[in-house]
């Protein structure tokens, strides 16, 4: 898939909103269809609702294990109890019910499951044949009407690799970055399913993928249409936000006062959701100067950017990003594949963290998603070489609680805190060591991967009956 850099690069532009953000746990909206007709009926805000149900688990106690709680805490020789899909207790010693399944964690580490805020699994699945190329609706620079979930192929073998090799329990699937407005993202539990609805993280807000820079201007400039320049990018963005503001005024008025409903526009519905704070902006943006322009544009139109994605120059404006409470979702060490990635440095993640801004490790890659813990480890080591004192357990926030906040799901997952989803990974060693692999992965307390048990290794429909079926991969 690395082969795809250009495609992915194309695909990879998104703005994400501030870490500490915000709209947080607000669901995209309750189904409207069930209510009685009213004068001013709201359009259904959740027409493809999640049908995800947690799989059964057994009450499980992991003992004598090193725990990173995902919020910066660490417990040596600790215990963690899961039951009924939730984290029940985490501590030096916890009270467990009789009959609980006990797992000896000696020499092992327990962490929250990894959350990848930037993936194209399902939208650019394996095998990457053109019939599977569903991530960029590159037929117009403003395509806010498309939803990534409508392209997700649940049989993408990449999901299973992210689970078994990577310990990824939640991931956001974004449209690509060919367009200024790429469309809506979707947040998934990394659980194999027949339909995308059965993977959808219940109540997770939608995101809006936006893109700065080279990709939109190259795609449309090569067709002699707007945008062909960075200034064209911003001009069309602002024109579009102005339309969205007008659309929102009309619909707000209608919903308040009734009367004749305004004409529905599926794309503007999405932008209205952003302006209302219900949909989080994930903005692909490489260069520091362009991120600063986007922040001003967001102020002009009254929306917030959750996260800048790729953000290879965040280190140049880490103070500005801190002040604006915007997250940066970054690679550890990708660089140089395109002009706007030329100034990438291996210390981007620790520099952003050290400045007090929100740092996230992301993949944007079907292979990279299998080693996000290693990406964090490399970034951490590079930061320490600069003299930054960042404990391992704090660096784990880059993989779990920070992306959870930026995706508006931090109240439910992203850390091993009582009451949260029991999304967790037992690693067979220190997860920042190259010699370590996931041993067990739980999602909502269900054991969905166990390196010791071939029956707990998912095999997609695509791979059934193929050479290598059921292999360790």
């Amino acid at each position: 898939m690395r082969h795809h850099h250009l495609v992915v690069a194309l695909a990879a532009a998104g703005l994400v909103g501030g870490c500490a953000a915000t709209a947080g746990a607000r669901p995209a909206g309750a189904p409207a269809a069930s209510g009685k007709p009213v004068a001013a009926a709201k359009p259904a805000s959740d027409p493809f609702p999640s049908t995800y149900r947690a799989y059964p688990g057994v009450p499980t106690l992991v003992t004598n294990v090193t725990i990173f709680d995902g919020e910066g805490g660490r417990i040596e020789g600790g215990q963690a109890l899961f039951a009924e899909g939730k984290v029940v207790a985490v501590g030096a010693a916890v009270e467990a019910p009789a009959g609980v399944t006990v797992i000896d964690g000696t020499g092992k580490w327990l962490t929250p499951g990894i959350i990848d805020i930037h993936s194209h699994l399902g939208d650019y699945p394996s095998p990457s044949v053109s019939a599977h190329s569903d991530g960029n609706e590159a037929t117009g620079p403003v395509r806010a009407e498309v939803w990534a979930e409508h392209s997700v192929w649940p049989q993408d073998p990449g999901f299973t690799r992210a689970l078994a090799n990577g310990g990824v329990t939640t991931l956001q699937i974004l449209p690509g970055s060919a367009n200024l407005f790429g469309g809506r993202s979707v947040t998934l539990k990394n659980v194999p399913a027949r339909t995308v609805q059965a993977m959808k993280f219940p109540g997770a807000p939608h995101g809006l993928k936006m893109a700065c820079g080279e990709n939109p201007k190259r795609v449309y400039g090569s067709r002699r249409q707007l945008p062909s320049t960075r200034m064209g990018n911003v001009a069309l963005n602002r024109q579009t936000w102005a339309r969205a503001a007008e659309y929102k005024r009309k619909w707000d008025k209608y919903e308040r006062d009734g009367g004749e409903p305004p004409t529905r526009d599926i794309g503007l519905d999405t932008l209205r959701g952003v302006l209302a704070g219900d949909i989080l902006v994930h903005n692909h943006c490489y260069r520091a100067d362009e991120m600063a322009i986007v922040l001003d544009m967001a102020k002009e139109f009254g929306y917030r950017v959750s996260t800048f994605h790729h953000a290879v120059e965040s280190y140049k404006i880490a103070d500005l990003l801190r002040e604006n409470a915007v997250c940066s979702a970054m690679w550890a060490d990708w660089w140089g594949f395109k002009m706007e990635a030329y100034d990438a440095v291996d210390e981007n993640i620790p520099l952003v963290h050290n400045a007090g801004a929100c740092a996230i490790v992301h993949s944007d890659d079907a292979n990279g998603i299998q080693r996000l813990n290693q990406e964090a480890a490399k970034a951490l080591a590079n930061g320490r070489r600069m003299g930054f004192d960042i404990p391992d357990e704090v660096a784990w926030t880059w993989l779990s609680s920070n992306p959870a906040k930026a995706m508006g799901i931090a109240d439910r997952t992203g850390s091993l805190v009582p009451g949260k989803m029991a999304d967790a990974v037992l690693w067979n060693g220190h997860p920042f060591s190259v010699y370590t692999r996931p041993e067990k992965v739980w999602i909502d307390g269900a054991l969905l991967f166990d390196a010791q048990d071939p029956a707990r290794r998912p095999v997609t429909d695509f791979e059934l009956g193929q050479p290598g079926e059921g292999d360790v991969k």
């Binding site: 660089w335 520099l351 292979n367 600069m386 010699y435 360790v472």
Partner: protein, 442 residues
């Protein structure tokens, strides 16, 4: 073989001895690196408290109980690791500055009338940022291949070093590269049969050219090969130049091995071979080395349905000489992932059902392994006596995430380890502007 040393010495402005064979001052210096954990790079386990002695740009000795010659410059590696410089097993290092900026990208030539004759050597830019970035990560040599553009033969690749001087090419025209899997089928017009027909026809043309160069009419309408391309394939068909063949699927690998029956002199090296483990016995029996991707685990294409990270371990277990390469994997810039990839193969030894490599084998896969694939293991890739003195002192286990070279020599010449990226990093260690703009801070 001493030529690169002399070149380097001259560039460093060092005085050198008269008499031709006397090496340059920098390279001629005797250096003894003591106290470190020494890994030879030949597959053996690391040795604690070892010594490495370098003289005249070559390894003199490495191991435990090696005497420090009188007058040697001492390097204390206590608490550190010492390995041979790493070799990028398959790469495009030095051929591009920014991949997507066409003017800086010399990997393939869509508009050229030539193919097999293309020699990447003049495309290697020793000042490419990727050279310095990869050197700073422990890569001292690279196997550099062109990419196909108009037909199945891509051209002649080089073996280079990553030294900070302008003499990067160690061996020009070190091998020929050909695509015979899905990419080959596409280049040949749309099918594997067409690719194989093209392959056979062109090698037969090269044989015809070799018999009678003057009589070969490369300009006729019927000729598939220009004279230059035919001449370039002569050493391939005569077995004087290795032929690197990119295929991924098990059936494609078997088809390639069969070519030896038709062209017995071919010195085949398989590149990619994601499904190699499914035909490992056949590859081992054919004594064909493999340069494989380390961590492909996905059916990224239909020719890679059986891909698994255990591929290299299983090939090794079957007796196949196997090295790690960067195949369609950021190969112009990120050969520096090699140690991480190798470390991941060690991790597999603790995963039930997987097959990994021992630590020593993993290091060999990124040092002596690539050299061995090209028949250069006597010259480079390990700390065995007589090899080029490409040596890295690491601040920790070289396969572990976050370990970095502390000092590094190429042909016995110590190299700078600072990159453009470090300069940017330092400028923005505090992002705020100071009394003057950032542009004044350096």
């Amino acid at each position: 073989m001493t030529v690169p040393m002399l070149r380097r010495a001259a560039l460093f402005g060092a005085a050198f001895l008269a008499g031709g064979l006397g090496a340059a001052a920098a390279g001629a210096e005797t250096v003894a690196i003591t106290g470190g954990t020494v890994a030879i790079g030949d597959g053996s386990a690391p040795i604690e408290g070892g010594t490495v002695v370098v003289r005249d740009g070559r390894i003199v000795a490495a191991g435990r109980g090696v005497a420090v010659p009188p007058g040697a410059t001492l390097v204390d590696a206590t608490g550190k690791w010492v390995t041979p410089g790493l070799i990028a097993g398959f790469s495009r290092l030095g051929l591009a500055e920014v991949d997507a900026v066409e003017e800086t990208n010399d990997i393939a030539a869509e508009g050229s009338p030539f193919s097999a004759a293309i020699d990447v050597a003049p495309g290697i830019n020793p000042r490419a940022t990727a050279i310095a970035v990869n050197r700073a990560a422990g890569i001292t040599r690279a196997i550099v291949a062109p990419a196909v553009a108009t037909e199945i033969f891509a051209g002649q690749g080089a073996v280079i070093d990553t030294g900070s001087d302008l003499a990067a090419v160690t061996h020009a025209r070190a091998f020929q590269f050909v695509e015979l899997g899905e990419a080959g089928a596409e280049e040949a017009g749309g099918s594997r049969p067409a690719a194989y027909l093209e392959f056979r026809t062109k090698l037969a043309d090269a044989q015809r050219y070799a018999r009678d160069p003057g009589g070969y009419d490369g300009d006729s309408k019927d000729a598939l090969l220009t004279r230059a391309d035919a001449a370039a394939l002569v050493p391939v068909v005569q077995g004087r130049m290795p032929l690197l063949v990119h295929v991924e699927s098990g059936p494609d690998i078997l088809n390639v091995l069969k070519l030896k029956a038709e062209f017995p002199a071919l010195r085949l090296v398989l590149v990619g071979a994601a499904e190699g483990w499914t035909v490992a016995r056949e590859i081992a029996a054919a004594r064909v080395p493999v340069i494989a991707s380390a961590l492909v685990s996905l059916p990224a294409s239909f020719e890679m349905r059986a891909a698994t990270q255990s591929n290299i371990g299983r090939l090794r277990a079957a007796g196949v000489p196997v090295a790690i390469g960067m195949i369609n994997d950021d190969e112009a810039r990120q050969a520096r992932y090699a140690p991480q990839y190798a470390g991941n193969l060690v991790a597999l030894t603790r995963v039930p059902g997987a097959t990994g490599l021992s630590w020593g084998e993993a290091l060999a896969a990124i040092s002596s392994g690539p050299a061995e694939a090209l028949g250069l293991a006597g010259e480079m890739g390990s700390l065995r006596p007589g090899r080029r003195a490409d040596v890295v002192v690491w601040d920790g286990d070289p396969l572990q995430l976050g370990s970095r070279p502390a000092r590094l020599w190429i042909d016995g010449v110590e190299q700078p380890l600072v990159t453009r990226q470090h300069r940017l990093r330092d400028r923005y260690a505090r992002p705020e502007e100071g009394e003057l703009p950032k542009a004044y801070q350096r």
